[in-house]
C-alpha cells in the first residue's frame, strides 16, 4: 500500500492548490510504533504528513460530518469499509454526495495490533511495513511476519476491500476475497448451548470500563444524545453493574443493526481488547440471511429496519 501514498499526496496537493476542497481528512504517522492518527490537512505543504499503512484501522467516515464546511467540499481518503460508511451517511442524510470528494484506497487489510503485541514479551519499539512483510522490533528481538498472518479478523473476512464509491482511486483495485464460511465466528457461538452463550458474552464484556470508545469510534453513532447519556428517562444505569454493561453493549449493537459495515473501528478503539463485534456480527449475518442486505453498498436503499416491505419476514409476531 505504500505505493499509493505518493498518489494520495499528489491528488490532495492538487485538490487543495486548486481550491477544489477546503480540507483533506486522512491519516498521519503516529507518535508510537504501530500507531496512526486521523488528521485534517488544509494546506498543500502539509500533505506530506499524510500516510496510509496497515495501522490505519479507524474509520474516517466518523470524522466527516463534524467538519463539513458551509460551502464547498472536503476530501476524505476511504478504504472499502470507510466508503461503505460514507454511503450509509449519505443514505441517512448526514452528508450529501456533493459535499465530498472521495479518494478511494483499495485495501489489503489492517493489522491486529494486539495479535502482534502478543508475539512479544516486551514492548514493541519499531514497526516497519514493506508490502506484505512486517518487521517488528523490541529490545529483546526482531521479528519478520507476513501481514496476512496478523490481519484483524474483520479484514480477514472482508469482501469489500475496494471502495464502493469514489471520485478518484489512489491505486488499482485489489482482488476481492471469497469466503467459504463468512460467519464462522457467529456459527461458533451459535453452536453453544444458551448457558454457554450467556457465559461467553459475560466473559467478553467483563473488563469493559464504559469509556464508550467503541461507540465514539463508530461512524454510525452520531445521535446528538446517546441513550446511555439520556437522563429523563434514564434507560440504563451508569455504574459498573454487569446488568448495565450488558444493556449498553446489547443496545449499542442493536442500534447498528442493518447499518454495520464491520469496519472494525469499535474493536480497534477498545482499550480493553473486547471483541464487541461478537454482537454486531450476529446482526450482520441476520441482515444478510433475512433481508439479503449488506450495509453501505447501495446509495438508493435505506437499511432494512428503516423500511417496511410486505416481503419482510414476520414470523416473530405472534
Amino acid at each position: 500500500m505504500d505505493t499509493c501514498i505518493e498518489k494520495i499526496r499528489t491528488i490532495c496537493a492538487d485538490l487543495l492548490a486548486k481550491g477544489k476542497v477546503q480540507k483533506v481528512i486522512g491519516f498521519a504517522e503516529g507518535s508510537i510504533p504501530m500507531a496512526s492518527r486521523p488528521i485534517a490537512v488544509t494546506s498543500k505543504e502539509d500533505v506530506a504528513k499524510l500516510v496510509f499503512n496497515a495501522t490505519c484501522g479507524l474509520n474516517l467516515a466518523n470524522y466527516v460530518s463534524d467538519v463539513l464546511p458551509k460551502e464547498g467540499k472536503i476530501a476524505v481518503t476511504a478504504k472499502g469499509c470507510d466508503s461503505r460508511n460514507l454511503v450509509t451517511h449519505m443514505v441517512e442524510n448526514q452528508v450529501s454526495r456533493d459535499q465530498l470528494y472521495i479518494i478511494g484506497v483499495p485495501c489489503t487489510g489492517m493489522v491486529d495490533k494486539r495479535k502482534i503485541a502478543a508475539l512479544f514479551e516486551d514492548e514493541i519499539t519499531d514497526f516497519i511495513e514493506d508490502g506484505d512483510t512486517l518487521t517488528i522490533v523490541s529490545p529483546q528481538k526482531k521479528e519478520k511476519v507476513s501481514k496476512k498472518d496478523v490481519l484483524r479478523h474483520n479484514c480477514r473476512v472482508c469482501t469489500h476491500r475496494n471502495p464502493v464509491v469514489f471520485d478518484v482511486m489512489a491505486a488499482e483495485p485489489v482482488e476481492e476475497q471469497s469466503l467459504d464460511q463468512p460467519f464462522a465466528d457467529v456459527d461458533h457461538i451459535a453452536a453453544m448451548d444458551p448457558a454457554a452463550r450467556w457465559a461467553h458474552f459475560q466473559e467478553l464484556t467483563k473488563n469493559c470500563i464504559r469509556c464508550y470508545a467503541c461507540r465514539n469510534a463508530c461512524p454510525l453513532c452520531y445521535c446528538p444524545t446517546c441513550f446511555v447519556d439520556e437522563s429523563s428517562p434514564q434507560w440504563v444505569g451508569k455504574g459498573q453493574d454487569k446488568t448495565d454493561i450488558n444493556t449498553f453493549h446489547f443496545l449499542r449493537a442493536f442500534h447498528c443493526a442493518g447499518r454495520c459495515t464491520d469496519c472494525g473501528a469499535c474493536v480497534e478503539a477498545c482499550p480493553m481488547g473486547i471483541n464487541v463485534r461478537d454482537f454486531t456480527r450476529k446482526l450482520n449475518k441476520d441482515a444478510l440471511e433475512l433481508f439479503g442486505w449488506e450495509a453501505g453498498l447501495d446509495m438508493e436503499k435505506r437499511p432494512p429496519l428503516d423500511v417496511y416491505s410486505p416481503d419482510d419476514p414476520n414470523d416473530f409476531i405472534k
Binding site: I32, A35, I209, C211, N216, Q240, P271, M272
Partner: protein, 348 residues
C-alpha cells in the same frame, strides 16, 4: 533505611503468609491484558508484568463505589434518611505497584484529603493500604516518568521499593507500614545498606537511559488565558473521538459522578469515575453547556493536567509519565507532544 533481600523461591510462601493479615492486590494477566486486582487466595501476582492497562487507582477509588443507602419504606424508622454504607477498610497490600503509580496516589491525595474536606471513602482506604513497589528495569516506549517528578526507581508514595535482581528481590523498607508488611511475610534477611543503595542507583541510571524526556519547565510561567486562547487546540483535538479512555486509564484522574438508583424500597447513592471528555460532564439542566464542543473538552483535560493543577498546588504537573493514555488512545493523541507545544508556546 533498611534493606532486605527476598529470594524468589521464598516469595510466594511469604506472600501466602501475609494473607493472614492483608488482602493482597497485584498484577494479574487475562486475555484483555494485565491489571492490578484483588488476588484470589490461590493466585499470585505476576510481578514481571509490563505497564498494566488500567492504573491501580481503583484500589482506593473503585470505578463504581457505593456511598450511601436509605430505605424508602415509610413503615421503617429512618426511612428516606441516607446513611453511609459499611466499608471494608481492613489492611491491604498492593504488590508490584510501579513508582509512577505511587506518585499518582500522592497527587490524587491532594484532592481527596485537603484542609477543608476529607473524602472518607478514599482516605480510609488509603490509610489501610501498604504499597510495595517494584522499580522499572525496562521502561517502555511511552514512559516519560523522569519528566514528571518521579522516575523508574522513585520512592515517593511507597512503603517498600523493590528491585528485581533475577533470582531475588532487593527491598528497601521506606516506612513503618513497609516494615510491618515485611514482618508479616517473614522477610527478614538484612542486606548491606550501602551496597544495596548503589545497586539501586545502577539500575535506576540504566533504566533512565531508555526514558524519553519532556520539558515542563515553562508551564508555570505561562498565563492561563494565553494558553487557553492559544490557536493550537483545534489541531490537537481534531482526531479525538471523545471517549473516556485517557481519563479512565490515567492514575491521576480523580473526577467522579454521583448517581442514585432505586430498586423496590432501597435507594442507593454511588459514585462512578467520570470523564471531562463527556459532554454530560458539564451539561447544565437548562441545556447550556460551558464545554459543549470537543475542542473545549480536550483543552480542559490538558489545561487541568498541565496548567491549572500546576498553578493550584505547586506540585508540578498532574501526570506521572506512565504513558498509559498514549498507549491506549485510539487516535494516538500524545500528551508528550501537547505538553511540549504548551511549554514552548509564546503568545503573539
Amino acid at each position: 533505611m533498611n534493606f532486605i533481600t527476598i529470594d524468589k523461591k521464598d516469595w510466594t510462601t511469604g506472600i501466602d503468609k501475609s494473607r493472614e493479615t492483608y488482602q493482597v492486590f497485584g498484577p494479574v494477566q487475562d486475555e484483555n491484558g494485565c491489571q492490578i486486582k484483588p488476588l484470589a487466595p490461590d493466585v499470585h501476582p505476576l510481578m514481571d508484568a509490563g505497564v498494566t492497562v488500567m492504573s491501580p487507582k481503583s484500589v482506593l477509588f473503585p470505578q463504581t463505589q457505593k456511598m450511601l443507602t436509605a430505605t424508602l419504606d415509610a413503615s421503617i424508622e429512618d426511612h428516606h434518611v441516607m446513611k453511609p454504607v459499611k466499608k471494608d477498610d481492613t489492611p491491604r497490600v498492593v504488590l508490584g505497584i510501579r513508582p509512577y503509580d505511587a506518585r499518582a496516589i500522592l497527587l490524587v491525595k491532594l484532592n481527596f484529603d485537603n484542609p477543608d474536606y476529607q473524602d472518607p471513602y478514599w482516605c480510609e482506604a488509603y490509610a489501610a493500604t501498604t504499597f510495595v513497589g517494584l522499580g522499572v528495569n525496562h521502561p517502555g516506549p511511552c514512559d516519560f516518568s523522569t519528566s514528571t517528578g518521579c522516575g523508574p526507581f522513585s520512592e515517593e508514595g511507597l512503603d517498600v521499593l523493590m528491585a528485581d535482581l533475577d533470582d531475588r528481590y532487593l527491598a528497601k523498607i521506606l516506612t513503618e507500614k513497609g516494615e510491618t508488611w515485611a514482618g508479616a511475610c517473614g522477610f527478614d534477611t538484612r542486606a548491606d545498606a550501602a551496597e544495596s543503595q548503589s545497586l539501586f542507583d545502577i539500575l535506576r541510571k540504566e533504566a533512565e537511559k531508555n526514558i524519553t524526556s519532556v520539558d515542563t519547565d515553562q508551564l508555570s510561567e505561562k498565563s492561563i488565558l494565553d494558553l487557553y486562547e492559544a490557536p493550537f487546540w483545534d489541531d490537537v483535538a481534531f482526531s479525538c473521538i471523545n471517549c473516556g479512555t485517557c481519563t479512565f486509564v490515567c492514575p491521576t484522574c480523580w473526577c467522579f459522578d454521583i448517581q442514585d438508583e432505586t430498586k423496590h424500597k432501597t435507594a442507593v447513592r454511588f459514585r462512578n469515575w467520570d470523564t471531562c471528555m463527556s459532554p454530560l460532564f458539564t451539561h447544565h439542566a437548562s441545556g447550556h453547556n460551558p464545554r459543549g464542543s470537543k475542542v473545549q473538552r480536550v483543552r480542559q483535560r490538558f489545561m487541568h493536567k498541565l496548567k491549572y493543577f500546576v498553578d493550584k498546588y505547586d506540585q508540578g504537573i498532574m501526570c506521572v509519565g506512565c504513558g498509559r493514555c498514549v498507549a491506549s488512545c485510539p487516535v494516538n493523541i500524545d500528551i508528550r507532544e501537547v505538553c511540549t507545544i504548551m511549554n514552548n508556546y509564546e503568545s503573539k
